[in-house]
């Protein structure tokens, strides 16, 4: 593996001041963010394999190019999981790509986001430095928490050579319930339930139906299901449904020509907008997905006005803003962080710094 890291380092050093490189795991999320058409791919797929995994330590360490599916299959053998249910978007998805994209799936609502599970990384930065931050232990405050900075950095700071993630036992029981209700009712119920000691895992509202996943101890799931009512989905259908949600296979996410798919991240209790009854609501109201004609660009402002942030998830045309703007001081800090790890701008700026 050292030879592979050495070769990557040579590629990075050779590119300094000459070319931009786009780190490529499985290429499964290569549409995400603001792709840089001029960057050459830097393939990290050879960084492959699980380095350490001891179930009773609740930690897994793998090379960045290890397929996500392989990591999840190994965990499942030991009845453990990645509780943030990262989307794959293609069989080729890698663990480094998942961390670099920072994306979590439907169970983020009940179990936390990807960044909550990052314990440590080993990276190759734009100066060719190999750096290790964090570690393989649950609690670690030695130095700044740079490993979490790499979560969601979209390959702009360096190559994730290795990553250590906290993993958890699979909840022994789960159950999916369905209720007919309006968007506002769903948002109200999801938030009210979240304030009660219930084993909540995932939530979704779309087309007049709320779907709720419970997961935890058998006794807790049964008691909650009995109390909340609704119609229970057969387990197999429920699993297929949540996987379709994780992989964004419902038609709410399917774009027509000339449309933009907006991802509106909002404070979860924000009431439904009257002109957004077609939204798909996830994470208890924390995220709302909307398909709109490309010309309709009010959403950055509308989300900002209620304390959230919008993103053109898909369908942005060249030159259009993808991520919500940040404040001037934060932008300056981000630019200096980028310069610290990648002073020559070797790595493509998929996360625009403006």
């Amino acid at each position: 593996m050292n030879a592979i890291v050495d070769r990557l380092r040579e590629q990075v050093l050779a590119a300094r001041g000459r070319r931009r490189l786009e780190i490529r795991g499985g290429g499964s999320k290569s549409w995400y963010g603001a792709p840089d058409p001029e960057a050459e791919p830097l393939d990290v797929g050879m960084l492959y394999g699980i380095i350490r995994y001891e179930p009773s330590e609740l930690v897994l360490t793998a090379y960045g190019g290890t397929p996500l599916a392989e990591v999840e299959a190994l965990l499942a053998q030991h009845r453990q999981w990645l509780p943030f249910s990262p989307p794959h978007f293609a069989a080729s998805a890698t663990i480094g790509g998942a961390v670099a994209s920072g994306l979590s799936g439907p169970t983020r609502w009940g179990h936390g986001a990807l960044r909550d599970y990052v314990l440590g990384v080993r990276v190759l930065d734009g100066q060719g430095r190999v750096l290790r931050f964090g570690g393989e232990v649950m609690k670690n405050v030695a130095g700044y928490d740079v490993s979490r900075l790499f979560a969601g950095s979209l390959g702009t700071l360096g190559v994730i050579l290795e990553v250590s993630l906290k993993v958890l036992p699979l909840p022994p029981a789960s159950c999916t319930l369905r209720f007919a209700c309006s968007q506002d009712e769903a948002i109200e119920r999801f938030n009210r339930w979240a304030g009660q000691p219930l084993p909540l895992s995932a939530s979704l509202w779309w087309q007049g139906q709320a779907t709720l996943r419970l997961a935890g101890a058998r006794a807790a799931v049964d008691a909650a299901a009995a109390r909340l009512g609704g119609e229970a989905l057969p387990e197999e259908a429920a699993q297929r449904f949540w996987e379709d949600v994780r992989e964004q296979r419902l038609s709410a996410w399917t774009l027509q020509e000339g449309e933009v798919l907006w991802r509106l991240a909002l404070p979860p209790t924000t009431p439904a907008w009257a002109d957004a009854e077609d939204a798909l609501v996830e994470w208890g109201g924390g995220v709302r997905w909307l398909r709109r004609p490309a010309a309709d660009d009010r959403w950055f402002e509308r989300a900002r006005a209620v304390g959230g942030h919008a993103m053109r998830w898909r369908g942005a045309r060249a030159g259009e803003r993808v991520f919500a703007p940040r404040g001037a001081a934060e932008r300056a800090i981000e630019a200096r962080l980028k310069a610290a790890f990648d002073p020559d701008g070797v790595f493509a700026r998929r996360l625009p710094l403006e």
Binding site: S56, R115, V137, K139, V141, V146, P267
Partner: protein, 493 residues
């Protein structure tokens, strides 16, 4: 790359004249006798008198102070309640201590959204007290929670006995607002999920007051579990207790709390609070389950079976809330209990992989002989975070130095065992040398660059947490001369 040296452009008297214009008389301390109250934090072995202490009551005053200090290149050391255990709030000898203690209002509590927005001087426990009528609470519960502030918790990424299941500060804070060293307003994180841009909130949490001054924090509140019960289990060897910890986790259980105390700590705690601990046991485990009554009953039974299988000599379940709190009282009072059996104690904070617990404890027993000092051991066993309490008497010449060297040995062994020098107390001034063991020169350089990205002038809590390469070289020579390993060759993590 070394840290940017920050030399004030004014004398102390000139500085005080400047600051006087910004604050009412009762918000500025510069009299030497009064400054003594601020010369150290919870780690009293390190002391320093600052030029002055400011106690602003408003954000406007904080901004004015920061802008003035930045212009005059006067170092600023933020301070909450001063309960930190690593010298993070240790004053700078030519600097201002910026106490946030008077910014102590709970600004908003939204039971429907399950969030509380507070000023940095609000005490940790005050949030849970305010949330209690709504059936909610703030999960991270450091043992110092009646005194420590949220600003300090954010700066140290504090944990508590329940963080195995409910997370550390970083998992329970949604957003912070504050100011850079230059006095510019910043917001990190968001009340909506996944704030855009780099995760600056993650960098700010645990940054020991070196990246920004935090003036407002929004935390998540969780529903209080319907019920909780705790098992008290005794073992005749520490190794067996350690194996029981791993076995509980291997069973697929994440207990709400999983703590261990060795015999010395158990006896000291029992003497202090009369919790009913078994005094003849080599190690005691506390295993808590919380949730619905059905869930707790099921989990307690499963944990009991594991404990029995792992050779517990005795185990009992708290019968009621009063007994559960009594079980915890001893563990939570372990530090003051150490203070009763010894004139002074020195608390360590390494984290190691759980499986290395037995090896670490045997090594500590060996070090007790080598240094001629006793050590009581309390652990957040579930997450491998150790708090060895080294007993010493500061009035005996040489004892503090021996305690310090003993502590350094424990921390460096933590790194060799695949862990870290600090799990939750921070590096501060205390563990700055051990950072040379855990990180390579290029990693330390990267940390200085992160610092400079937030604070290019280097005036916010300078000289803490990240050692200069020069310092590491000096430390390496010193350790070699004592016949120890030099830092460069140590295997890391």
């Amino acid at each position: 790359m070394a840290e940017i040296a920050s030399e004030p452009t004014v004398s102390r008297a000139e500085f005080i004249a400047h600051v006087r214009r910004l604050l009412p008389e009762d918000a500025l301390i510069h009299d030497e006798a009064e400054l003594r109250a601020y010369e150290c934090d919870g780690l009293s072995a390190f002391r320093e008198l600052p030029w002055a202490v400011a106690l602003p009551r408003s954000e406007e005053e904080v901004v004015a102070l920061l802008q003035t200090c930045h212009r005059l290149r006067v170092p600023v050391v933020p301070r909450g309640a001063g309960t930190g255990l690593s010298g993070g709030a240790l004053p700078h000898p030519q600097g201002l201590v910026l106490s946030l203690a008077r910014l102590n209002r709970i600004l908003a509590l939204d039971p429907f959204a399950r969030t509380a927005t507070v000023q940095p001087g609000v005490r940790n426990l005050a949030i849970s007290e305010a949330a209690a009528p709504h059936g909610l609470y703030y999960a991270p519960d450091p043992s110092s929670q009646i005194a420590c502030t949220l600003g300090g918790n954010v700066a140290e990424n504090s944990g508590g006995v329940h963080c195995l299941k409910y997370g550390l500060t970083v998992h329970n804070v949604l957003r912070v607002r504050g100011y850079t060293a230059a006095g510019e307003p910043v917001v990190f994180g968001s009340l909506a999920p996944d704030a855009p841009g780099y995760d600056l909130l993650a960098l700010a949490i645990g940054s020991e007051g070196m990246l920004a001054v935090v003036t407002e924090i929004t935390v998540k509140l969780l529903p209080r579990p319907q019920t909780a019960r705790c098992i008290l289990a005794a073992f005749d060897s520490v190794r067996a207790a350690g194996e029981a910890v791993a076995a509980i986790i291997a069973e697929g259980i994440i207990p709400a709390g999983l703590e261990m105390m060795d015999q010395g700590a158990t006896i000291a705690a029992e003497d202090f609070v009369h919790a009913g601990y078994p005094l003849e046991a080599a190690a005691v485990l506390l295993c808590e389950s919380d949730g619905t009554p059905e869930e707790v009953e099921e989990e307690i039974a499963r944990m009991g079976a594991v404990l029995e299988r792992c050779g517990a000599t005795e185990w009992r379940v708290s019968r009621d809330e009063e007994e559960r709190l009594r079980f915890w009282a001893g563990r939570k009072a372990a530090f003051p209990a150490a203070g009763r059996v010894s004139p002074d104690y020195y608390c360590m904070d390494g984290t190691i992989p759980r499986k290395a617990l037995g090896e670490m404890l045997e090594a500590i027993a060996e070090m007790e002989r080598e240094y001629g000092l006793r050590c009581l051991n309390v652990f957040h066993a579930g997450d491998g975070n150790l708090h060895p309490l080294i007993l010493f008497d500061a009035n005996q010449p040489g004892e503090w130095e021996r305690a310090e060297a003993f502590g350094a040995d424990i921390l460096e062994l933590s790194v060799r065992l695949g862990g870290t020098v600090t799990g939750e107390h921070g590096v501060g001034m205390e563990k700055i040398n051990q950072m040379c063991v855990q990180f390579s020169p290029v990693e330390l350089e990267a940390f200085f660059q992160v610092k400079a990205a937030f604070d290019p002038a280097g005036i916010l809590n300078p000289g803490k947490a990240i050692p200069t390469l020069h310092r590491c070289a000096e430390y390496g020579r010193m350790r070699v001369s004592r016949g120890k390993l030099p830092f460069a060759e140590l295997p890391r993590f």
